[in-house]
């Protein structure tokens, strides 16, 4: 596997412009003859499909949902960062770049992050032009807030529904192209494999979720915008259908998978309430702007929160990090909550929770002001828990939320398979080992609107070949492979439900490859996962047929891939003998319990190559160089 | 132009037709009720008023012309109202091809559910009312030109008065939802307008239905004789 990052030469601020100039263009008259497949219709997929169609390419967009608008980008709450400096508080492209590299704990590619910061401003312009109703000041100008510990106000937001509004903007742009016939939309079709011809990505195989039909689709290039894989943990804040299948299938066809162990645990989620729990609900990080996090000073203090006096409370983040307090980055906030609960200070019936208290903010600003800022979140909390957060503190606990790892891509967002491009959360590129709040929407849209549509032109101009006939042996072979795998799944008639296997995998991953990892734990998981995978194929059961809507079959196919991915995550976590960002190895910490990076040994992206079912994956390394932001120990004291 | 006309055949176009024709009727029933209040001033005034309707607009219009013009407008409005209602009902029936076992009533007011059967009932009533007090075909003691007499003798029958009472109840409901609905359909909406839409609808419904109901009550109690 050759890892050529294709980072343009020259000063960082000019790399993207220079690169845009150097890329080959496709003759406008020829664009409609070139066909691009976009898999996924979230922020990245929808914006890419719409923009490619505007440019004149023939686009087919696939989603396993009934509508592109259901993609999980819709659930992002807090906001989107942009270096607009509308607040005049000293923000700049360079500062956003700097913050993002530092926040990612120096495990991302500088050139990509700089480009992301540059494009952030264009995204806001584009979104406003599309009718995204961002929050505004009384004068009619856009409002900003400070988010996730940033020292400047650079976050644009639409109430607590920023992801929804940005996705609707991209969705509307996409539907315009669908209406005009420039994009063929294929809902309720799930990608099951990638078609390679002469080593290039030339199409995909899908299963129609309603009719069960397995079909092949060919094109000049394939784009995956298929999201993250947090559902490997079973319980996560991801939507129930989020899965790794498209990316994993591509990986098995030769695409390198980078930093799979870089997962983000979000600190402010509603704690688990029981065995039946199907997913976890995130409460926007913005709550930490006004809420104070605490636990009882005495372990096992069973009193109701309001009966615990200030003296008996430990506002531990404020105590440990006097300058950032409750606004420390996500990984720190999550890990400290875990420590508190591990040490017996946890609250709630399970003991896995800490308080997020608004009493002081309500006293200072009044209940009305708090209602205006967080009303919908408070309402959601009350609906789920039956507790009123205006009257008593919320209980929160960290939950898997986002995956920084993903398919490796070069500066052009192309994977190690020529022609296969990967955008949004599905790729690995910009967030390093930890993503900052309000940066996911930014990256998805930068990729989809402003990067991929141009870089893919360069690939097409250089490589577009003859159309592939539907009966081409590589196409037919791939279709056969999917058919036989589906048949194998349908034939499973054991004693365990698919759900029970997924739950077990999730617990294994959470315990051993979650917020804190140890070599021993990871080895335990690496021993157990292959046997669990065997149990799945031998003892799980898929009821129903293949010719209709069959949600058990859908889940089974996804869980089968999680069972393989989980192993790779543990392997990656074990190989990375350091702590950085969301990856915390207990063996590697400072005396104060902070993550201890090993820049000499691990300043690289680990890119795993698939070598077959019975052989271990091979690790390749893309070294990371830091010319502009000197790696330093993060300190939020 | 072709496309423009087609735009009035959509469900929204038909609803606009219903609203506009409905407003004609709202005007009519209000005028009709106020005019009939003259019955409390005695036979002479009332008959003079009834006759006056025919001379309205004189000398510009000839005897009876304005009345017929008014009648023509009402007939056109009625036809448009009923035709639109039929088309809209058919569309809506087709839109729920499979019915629920149960669907909770979630609408703002029960009056909205009365529009279809209430409308049919009102149509039947209008026919009866015309045959009864305008043409006298179903009136036991009809004297052409003596509206006062026809009204008093007509309402002295308890069953006839009961029919009128039920019809006025239906009219009240129809007006209550119809007036509010017309504001919605014509897009007359805004924070200030919205505050007065319900009270106005209720007011018109109460005044018209109440005023009309007073006539049979007055006859049966002997206040008007």
């Amino acid at each position: 596997m050759k890892l050529d990052s294709r980072i343009p030469s020259g000063p960082i601020a000019q790399k993207w412009d220079q690169h845009k100039f150097e890329m080959k263009l496709v003759n406008p008259a020829n664009k409609r003859k070139h066909h691009v497949i976009v898999v996924g219709s979230g922020l990245a997929g929808a914006s890419a499909a719409a923009t490619l169609a505007e440019l004149g390419y023939a686009v087919t967009c696939f989603t396993y949902h009934d509508s592109p608008r259901r993609a999980h980008s819709i659930a992002a709450q807090g906001g989107i960062n942009a270096a607009k400096n509308y607040q005049g508080d000293g923000d700049s492209i360079y500062r956003l770049f700097y913050d993002t590299v530092k926040g990612g704990d120096f495990r991302s590619r500088e050139a990509n992050v700089y480009r992301l910061a540059q494009l952030s401003v264009n995204i806001i312009d584009q979104a406003v032009a599309q009718g995204v109703p961002f929050a505004r000041e009384y004068g009619g100008m856009l409002a900003n807030r400070s988010f996730g510990g940033a020292q400047v106000s650079r976050t644009f937001y639409a109430r607590g529904q920023t992801g929804q509004q940005l996705l609707l903007g991209a969705y509307q742009a996409l539907m315009k192209q669908v209406g005009s016939g420039a994009v063929r939309l294929r809902p309720m079709k799930e990608m099951h494999d990638l078609i390679l011809v002469d080593g290039h990505a030339r199409g995909i195989v899908t299963r129609d979720l309603i009719s069960g039909e397995i079909e092949s689709w060919t094109a000049d290039a394939v784009v995956l915008g298929t999201g993250g894989y947090s559902n490997v943990f079973y319980l996560s804040t991801n939507a129930m259908k989020c899965n790794v299948t498209a990316a994993w299938r591509a990986h098995k066809r030769g695409a390198g998978f980078a930093n799979p162990c870089f997962t983000q645990i979000h600190p402010t989620c509603i704690p688990v309430s029981g065995e039946y729990q199907s997913k976890l609900t995130l409460m926007s990080e913005s709550l930490r702007n006004d809420g104070r996090i605490w636990v009882p000073r005495n372990a096992g203090d069973g009193r109701a929160p309001n009966e615990i006096s200030a003296a008996d409370r430990d506002y531990y983040l404020e105590r440990m990090y006097p300058s950032f307090g409750n606004l420390v980055p996500r990984d720190l906030a999550s890990r400290r909550a875990k420590d508190m609960c591990d040490d017996g200070y946890g609250v709630g019936s399970s003991g896995r929770g800490v308080y997020l208290d608004f009493a002081d903010a309500i006293e200072r600003l009044g209940e009305e002001a708090i209602r205006e800022r967080y009303g919908n979140l408070f309402e959601m909390y009350e609906r789920i828990t039956g507790e009123n957060p205006y009257g008593q503190p919320m209980r929160i606990y960290p939950a898997p939320h986002y995956t920084m790892g993903g398919l490796w891509v070069d500066y052009n967002l192309m994977s190690t398979i020529p022609g296969l491009h990967v955008i949004g959360e599905a790729n690995f590129s910009d967030h390093g080992a930890n993503r900052l709040g309000a940066s996911a929407l930014m990256q998805g849209l930068a990729d989809g609107y402003f990067i991929l549509p141009y870089t893919i032109g360069d690939y097409i101009a250089r490589h577009a070949g003859d159309p592939i006939a539907p009966d081409h042996p590589d196409v037919a072979g791939t279709v056969e492979g999917v058919k036989s795998r589906t048949a194998r799944l349908l034939a499973m008639d054991g004693n365990r439900t698919v759900e029970s296997v997924h739950r077990e995998l999730g617990r294994l991953m959470w315990d051993n490859c979650g917020m804190a990892r140890t070599a021993t734990g990871l080895r335990t998981a690496l021993e157990r996962i292959p046997t669990l995978r065997e149990e799945f194929w031998e003892d799980a059961k898929v009821v129903g047929g293949g010719g209709t809507l069959n949600q058990v079959l859908e889940r089974a196919a996804r869980v089968a891939d999680f069972l393989e991915l989980g192993e790779l995550m543990c392997r990656d976590a074990l190989a990375r003998e350091e702590s950085c960002g969301g990856h915390f190895r207990e063996e590697h910490q400072t005396p104060e319990g902070e993550a201890k990076r090993n820049d000499d040994g691990f300043s690289h992206a680990s890119v795993w190559g698939y070598t077959g079912e019975d052989s271990a994956p091979v690790e390749h390394r893309e070294p990371l160089e830091f010319e502009y932001v000197t790696p330093s120990q993060r300190s939020y004291k | 132009m072709g496309r423009g006309a087609a735009l009035f055949r959509t469900s929204i176009g038909l609803k606009i037709t219903m609203a506009v024709s409905g407003i004609v009727f709202v005007g009519f029933v209000i005028g009709h009720m106020f005019g009939n209040l003259k019955v409390y001033q005695g036979a002479e005034v009332f008959n003079h008023y009834a006759e006056g309707l025919r001379e309205f607009g004189d000398p510009f219009f000839q005897y009876g012309q304005t009345l017929w013009i008014a009648r023509a407008v009402l007939i056109v409005a009625l036809a448009a109202h009923v035709w639109s209602a039929l088309k809209l009902t058919r569309q809506s029936r087709a839109a729920r091809d499979e019915r629920y076992r149960k669907l909770e009533a979630l609408e703002f007011s029960r009056a909205s559910r009365s529009m279809r059967w209430g409308g049919v009932a009102l149509l039947a009533f209008v026919v009866y009312h015309l045959l009864h007090l305008t043409f006298g075909a179903v009136h036991p003691d009809f004297i052409a030109g003596d509206a006062y007499h026809n009204l008093v003798t007509g309402f002295q029958s308890v069953p006839v008065s009961a029919v009128y009472a039920v019809a006025m109840l239906a009219l009240g409901l129809h007006l209550y939802h119809g007036v509010w609905s017309a504001f919605q359909t014509l897009g007359i909406s805004g924070p200030r307008v919205n505050r007065m839409r319900r009270p106005l609808a209720l007011g018109i419904a109460l005044v018209v239905a109440g005023g009309n109901l007073s006539f049979p009550v007055a006859v049966l109690t002997g206040i008007v004789a």
Partner: protein, 249 residues
């Protein structure tokens, strides 16, 4: 608690469909409604029976994927709440719960409680967008938008496209959905240039999708999990009327 469920089962669009009764045992008050169904389904799977197909995804009330009529009410009894956020503490031991799919000609049943709502996408494709070519936008602050307008547009834009408005409407009308999208875009200065075309194209597509007519019942607003107001329907009507008059004149 133990509950008796009566669930609409329909193997395919052509199947007649029927209610099937299931016992949901040991349901906990903390469960969400869909988690209760998950447990029932896992029991069915264990016995080798096909589980109840129902659509759902984010389970936090924003994706608009879930939707079913619970005891005659779209999304169940809680106001401003999608069925995925409904929790079982609402119910008491021994309760009967009837569960039906959205029923509308515009939403054909695919299987059990899953319906096809692509009609709503086609309405959006007809005009529910602002044409702004990527990269062509002026600076985001170039056009100030009064806060009140932005807020009102946001109220309309909160629609999650779940289809509860259609399900609740005695006429199976899609006016609340369509009006929310029209209002969101027409209320913003960026949406002005395409205002008339948008409203007409979207309404014509809505008509073509077999939805019923709006009789201003207001059931849609009551059922809407996002509290979208029927005031937007008035706005749609106004924009439609002026566009239609403009066209015919």
């Amino acid at each position: 608690m133990n509950l008796t469920l009566h669930v609409w089962r329909q193997a395919s669009p052509d199947d007649r469909g029927r209610f099937v009764t299931y016992e949901a045992l040991d349901v906990e008050a903390h469960m969400s409604f869909l988690e209760m169904l998950d447990v029932v389904n896992e029991g069915l799977e264990e016995r080798g029976e096909e589980p109840i197909a129902f659509d759902h995804d984010c389970r936090e009330g924003i994706c608009g994927t879930c939707g079913m009529v619970v005891n005659g009410r779209p999304h169940g009894p809680w106001k401003r709440t999608t069925v995925c956020q409904l929790h079982m503490r609402e119910y008491r031991d021994g309760d009967d719960i009837w569960i039906e799919p959205w029923r509308a000609a515009g939403f054909p049943v695919i299987r059990d409680l899953v319906v096809d709502r692509t009609s709503l996408d086609r309405i959006v494709a007809a005009g529910g967008f602002i044409s702004a070519r990527t990269g062509s936008a002026p600076d985001a602050n170039a056009i100030p938008v009064p806060k009140a307008h932005a807020e009102r547009a946001m109220d309309a834009a909160s629609c999650i496209g779940c289809g509860a408005c259609v399900a609740a409407c005695p006429n199976a009308s899609a006016m609340l959905f369509t009006s929310a999208k029209v209002a969101h875009l027409n209320l913003l200065p960026q949406g002005r240039p395409e205002k008339a075309m948008r409203v007409i194209d979207m309404v014509l597509q809505m008509e073509a999708e077999n939805f019923g007519s709006c009789t201003n019942h207001g059931a849609c607003e009551t059922a809407c999990p996002k509290d979208i107001s029927v005031d937007f329907i008035a706005l749609l009507n106004r924009d439609y009327l002026s566009a239609a008059v403009g066209r015919s004149g």
